[in-house]
Each structure stands twice: as C-alpha cells, then as structure tokens.
Symmetry: C2
DNA sequence: GGGGACATGTAATTGGTTACATGATTAC
DNA sequence: GTAATCATGTAACCAATTACATGTCCCC
C-alpha cells in the first residue's frame, strides 16, 4: 500500500483526497484503496520521511499537499525492482463457477451471462477513462490501460464461448 | 472464506488438511488460504451447524473429518446465487508496471521478461494439475481449469507483444 | 438553503497471514 | 534414524474496509 501511495506521489504532488480519486480512476481494476488506508499510510510515510506534508490554504480550503522526498523516491524504485510475489489473482466469480455444480444449469448460465454484462459495463467505464486520459499520461500508464481493455475483451470472449459450451452440455456432472 | 470451505465440503467429506491441499491444487491461482484461516473457519462453521465434525482414528492417525450439513448446503447454494462483488482483481505486477516510468527502459524490459517466465512456470504447473485431475472432476471444475490455462496463454501473449512495443520505444515519457 | 464535490481523519472490526507448537506415520 | 507427509490447532500480528465524525466551498 505504502508503495502505491509513493507511486502516485512520484507522478506529482497531491492531497490524500486526490490520491483516492486517482486510484479510483486508473488502478481500480487491479488495485483499490479507501481513505481508511490512504491517510494512515500517508501519516506513516511522513513520519518515516518518505514523503513531505505541506499544510496550505487554497481558496479558503485547508489541505495537506504531500510530495515525495528523495528517500521516498529511492524506496519507490526499490519496490519496483523487487520481485512481485508471483501472480496472485483473487477472482471471486471464478470461485463460484468452480463450485457451481451445486446449481441447476439454467442458473449457471444466468450467472455467466450476468458476469459478462458486468464485464461489459467495466469495459465502457474503462473506455471513458481512456478517452479522458490518453495523451495525458506516460506510456507505462497507457500499458496498463490497454491491458485492462484487452483483458476484459478476452474475458468476455472466453465467457461467451463458455456459454455456448454450456448450452451443449446437460450439466456439471 | 467460509463459503469456499463449504464449497469443498460440498464435493465430499474431508479433513482440514485435505481442504488446504485441494485449495493449493485447484484454486490456488484465483484463491488461496492457510491453516490459520481454514481451521478457525471450520470451527465457526461447526458451531453454526453448517458442517459436522467427526473425530475418527484411521490407521492410528487421529483426524477430524468434516462433512457439510443440510444447513450448510443451503448456505452454499445461497452464496453461489448471490451476486459476486463486481470483478475485483488484485494484480501486483500490473501496479508495478503502471509506475514503471521511474525505472530505466532495460530494467522495465527485464521486469516483463521475468514476469513472462513466471507465468510460464505457472502454466506448466497447471498442466500437471490438468493431467492429474482431468477425467476425475466435474465439468465446472474443468471450466476453471481451462480458464486458468487460457488466461495464462493470453497473458503470455500480451506481455510478449508488450516487449516488442517496448523495444520500439525509447521509454516511458 | 441544500446537495454535491472537496477535504481530513479516526475507531471498530474484519479477514487474513506468519510463525509457533505438537505429534504420529510412512518410506527410504 | 531421518526426512517427508499427514494432521491439528493457536497467538501475535498486519492490512484493509466500513462506518463514523466533521467541516468548507460552490453552484443551483
């Protein structure tokens, strides 16, 4: 978590509120956070000296603008260089699909159809984000945006194919 | 968590140890758990009456065989029917990629190459699981197995394409 | 004057991991 | 005899969410 905050501050100075908004926009699909984790994290990082907190008043509004320090920048790079704990994807729908033999077939079909619908909504949202941000972000951020787009397309295709397969079958048994 | 345990017990009676082993085999890529969460969960479920615990001794080994009750079966079905909280995938490597502008280009390429290697290892492991289980599981469990296989293939392809793109570029800026 | 976005934070709780503690059986 | 696997559990800890608590500015 701390590393992700550092990552955002590496893109520019911002407030806790802004970090939350940015996470909601850009990394929501593969990482999310609430104020309850952002502010304590910011506090920790400030105490450690990885970020600097500036209390300012901007058009009458008191805010705390955080910026990354050299120490923080070093920590960020170290984290980026460290090996990511091998792929660990938590995907609840798939768990349900795994156990869905306990459901009647039509219910299972419904489940998958609904999931496809959700994915497609996600795709639309991502497209909006894309329209807003393309051209205003660096290519690394673009990579992940494209990843999201391509992944959802893959998933939709996969589940559509699954639906066809299910139609042919009698059930999970 | 409790629901996942119920799911496994829905497939047959087993011990906590066996549940852990099964999770490691079949759902590891999209769900994992440790003893520290399995046993307390089993305890909770027993107290609630969703599972039944039978202390037996089998070839000198004392074990507790858990089985799902009618109540538990109902809870399992309810969970399966409940809408999954819309796709929530936590993928640390992608977060790193998102912020990787702070890394030199060759380092970034290395990062992606290593991730591909890891994915390929995962693929091999999954293939082993496939060889062992295909024919011995119901088609729902097969769905998720195939999903894993197809997903990894997609990911490898995607990252390989990314590498090519990266070669052409000068950096993330 | 009221709703929405801006803005910051804490407290209680949840959900989980890691590490510890223990001990039997089996196969080499 | 010793290492791997089978087997069960607890305690300390950690990371994060939810809900709460508070207040301002801006636009209608």
């Amino acid at each position: 978590m701390d590393s992700v905050i550092l990552g955002f501050l590496g893109l520019g100075d911002m407030t806790g509120y802004e970090i939350k908004k940015r996470i909601g926009l850009s990394t929501r699909f593969f990482y999310n956070a609430s104020y309850g984790s952002i502010y304590p994290s910011l506090k920790r990082l400030t105490e450690k000296g990885s970020v600097k907190a500036d209390r300012v008043v901007e058009n009458g509004r008191a805010k705390v603008i955080y910026s990354i320090t050299d120490k923080g920048r070093q920590e960020l790079v170290d984290w980026l260089k460290s090996p990511a704990p091998s792929v660990h994807i938590r995907y609840e729908f798939l768990v349900k699909l795994f156990f869905s033999q306990h459901l009647p077939r039509d219910r299972r079909v419904e489940m998958v159809s609904q999931h496809i619908a959700e994915l497609q909504m996600g795709l639309e949202e991502l497209r909006k984000v894309e329209a807003e941000t393309r051209g205003r972000v660096d290519s690394c951020q673009l990579y992940t945006l494209n990843f999201g787009l391509d992944l959802i397309a893959f998933l939709v295709g996969w589940y559509e194919n699954l639906l066809e397969q299910m139609e042919e079958e009698h059930g999970c048994e």
